[in-house]
Amino acid sequence: MNKLKLKNQLSAQLLLIIITITVMFPIVYIFGLSINPDGRRPSELVIFPAQPTLANYAQVLDRPTANPVSFSQLLSNSLMLSTGSAAMSLLIGVFAAYAFSRFKFVGRSFLMSAVLGLTLLPSVAGLLPLFILLNRIRTNAAVVGVAMLVLAILAIVIFGMFLLSRIRNREAGGWTFVFGLGGLLIGALLLYGGIINFAKGTEEEFILRNSLYGVGITMISGGLPFTIWYLKGYLDTIPKELEEAARIDGASFNQTFFLVVLPLAVPVLAIRFFLSFMGDWTEFYISWQFLTDPKDYTLAMTLWNIVGQYAANISWNIFAAYSVVVALPIAVVYAIFQKQIVGGLTLGGVKG
């Protein structure tokens, strides 16, 4: 009906092609550089190398920097930090979000404004006091191991009982398993870490600040207010009548939360998890400030090692390959769930 005139079509296409070139230029350039065998600084613009190679990726996966740390170690540090912190802040935050969304209790409005106020605190501003405080918590590896084993057993017992009781009552939906198995996974990770630390014995000093746990605690501290505010915003949109109906049917308070509310919130929990994960995956400042042992370094810190400090020593094609490796997992997930995530971001509010 409203057919576009050819002249307008062509000028629109011309404009969009120019925009496409500007959008694609950095991406194609860095990809081309990452498969370029020549590591010297270019003097002519090369978009696609004459003899493409995957050697740079092999080098990155083998040993990205001069630091004595392998790529798999970096990857596992980054993964543990970002999944651990994202899962913990979600696990802790969802209960508070529900209480805020549904109940009037003493201190509610005060606590809520405290949480909202905290979302305005730039994450880098919260790093300093925790740096000083966590630095004071010192012990040896064996004690840490024991503490982690206790936590691991607690987590496994609680989540195991939760899963078992749900299964016995035939109340187990798909998300119950996600929740229960997620908790069990955290328990298993704690168990693993506990054994490793315990094996190190009493000789090795442990400073909470100088460990991935210290970084994780600081990440959770920064992420929690935002998680609570975000989830509360979503839970507010779930009609109360659903829960009232469940209550009339004889469900307990706990059952309404686990069986009615949480299943409805699963998509938004997933988005929040991914947003926290994405933030923590590329988190730089806390880990840069806290960690001194190269074995604890993360992927993001190493990217800066390549570009900043040792920039002169590391060839550009290695930098390019490394950037692609760091960006790719996030970019793929983000691109797939782009609609939901953008909707979630605008719902969420402010956090730098």
């Binding site: 501003a125 300093l128 405080l133 800066w304 730098g352």
Partner: protein
């Protein structure tokens, strides 16, 4: 009635639900914040990290030093709180305006009926948005290299078509001390690096605006345009009187959000520019991180963190006020 009975029957449960969160937050969020406020009134330094060696209480000296641009207190060369604050605000305002205008215009073009390859463009245009900020800024830093960076090499290649010499495009994007457009703010002209920041942020920022604007555009009923056509409205008239007003409710919150993000966009000041030249392109948050990480002036940094928090809150309240004002204008 119903609501109150609900609250009563819940009894102690709300507290049980809130308790774990606030135990954790009390320990790792609220207590550290009070500790930070206490630190801000002391001369806390590296030596005071050990518990046996407590810092001295110095009252408001840190705050006074920061607000008076006292380099003896802050120990960053060329530190000037008000200049940094002005740069930070102008940086956020200018980057939001550029991305917002471009993002909306591109969304409108992409929404034209009968346009070819619409889907392909939409897929390609989300790519900048999905790449982590850290990577975007390190890559742009690499591309802005004065002798071998992709930007200058591309400009040279384009320039050579028109017979322009290569030397013309050896632009020192991240280190030049020149201020190209001096007229803009005569008392504080923007260095070349500011434009590099603007370009990099523009590249990453407009696709996000386009995604939001596209969503809003698609919810505008087509009947409005048809009715306008019957009344004899031209294309620009429809754009001005239907599209833009109906986009506003979605775009104002997006602009506010984007302003508050960009205001504290530490990645761009730390990874892309490093504050160069002469700390002219520092943001408040990057100064804060330098105070902690490089200067190790923990007491001063604690005061600076409090100031950053206050500034962020003021920005949030101001921008929120503007949203409310436009809302009432709409109705």
């Amino acid at each position: 009635m119903r609501g109150s009975s609900n609250a009563n029957s819940a009894g102690i449960w709300p507290y049980i639900f809130v308790l774990p969160t606030f135990l954790v937050m009390g320990l790792i969020t609220f207590y550290p914040i009070f500790f930070n406020v206490w630190m801000s009134f002391t001369n806390f330094q590296l030596a005071n990290i050990r518990l046996e060696n407590p810092p001295e209480f110095i009252g408001l000296a840190n705050y006074i030093g920061i607000l008076n641009n006292d380099i003896a207190v802050v120990k960053i060369a060329d530190f000037s709180f008000w200049k940094h604050l002005f740069f930070n605000i102008w940086w956020a305002v200018s980057s939001v305006f550029t991305t917002l205008i471009a993002g909306i215009l591109i969304a409108i073009v992409l929404n034209v009926e009968g346009l070819w390859f619409k889907k392909a463009y939409r897929v390609m245009f989300i790519l900048p948005m999905v790449i982590p900020n850290l990577v975007v800024n390190t890559v742009w830093r690499n591309m802005f290299d004065p002798t071998s960076g992709a930007i200058n090499l591309a400009l040279m290649a384009i320039g050579s078509v028109f017979g322009l010499p290569r030397e013309m495009f050896e632009i020192n994007w991240l280190g030049s001390i020149e201020h190209p457009i001096g007229l803009l703010f005569p008392w504080q002209p923007m260095p070349v690096t500011y434009y590099a920041m603007l370009i990099s942020n523009f590249w990453r920022g407009w696709p996000w605006v386009t995604v939001i604007a596209t969503g809003a555009l698609q919810s505008i009923p087509k009947e409005l345009y048809e009715a306008a056509s019957i009344d004899g409205a031209t294309g620009p008239q429809k754009l001005w009187s239907i599209t833009l007003p109906l986009l506003r409710p979605a775009m104002v919150p997006a602009a506010i959000l984007s302003y508050n993000w960009t205001f504290n966009l530490l990645d761009i000041a730390y990874f892309l520019t490093g504050g160069q030249p002469f700390h002219e392109t520092e943001l408040l948050v990057s100064i804060l991180f330098r105070l902690v990480n490089e200067q190790r002036l923990y007491g001063v940094a604690a005061s600076f963190a409090v100031i950053v928090f206050i500034v962020s809150t003021i920005m949030f309240l101001l921008t929120n006020r503007i949203t409310r004002a436009t809302e009432s204008y709409d109705s």
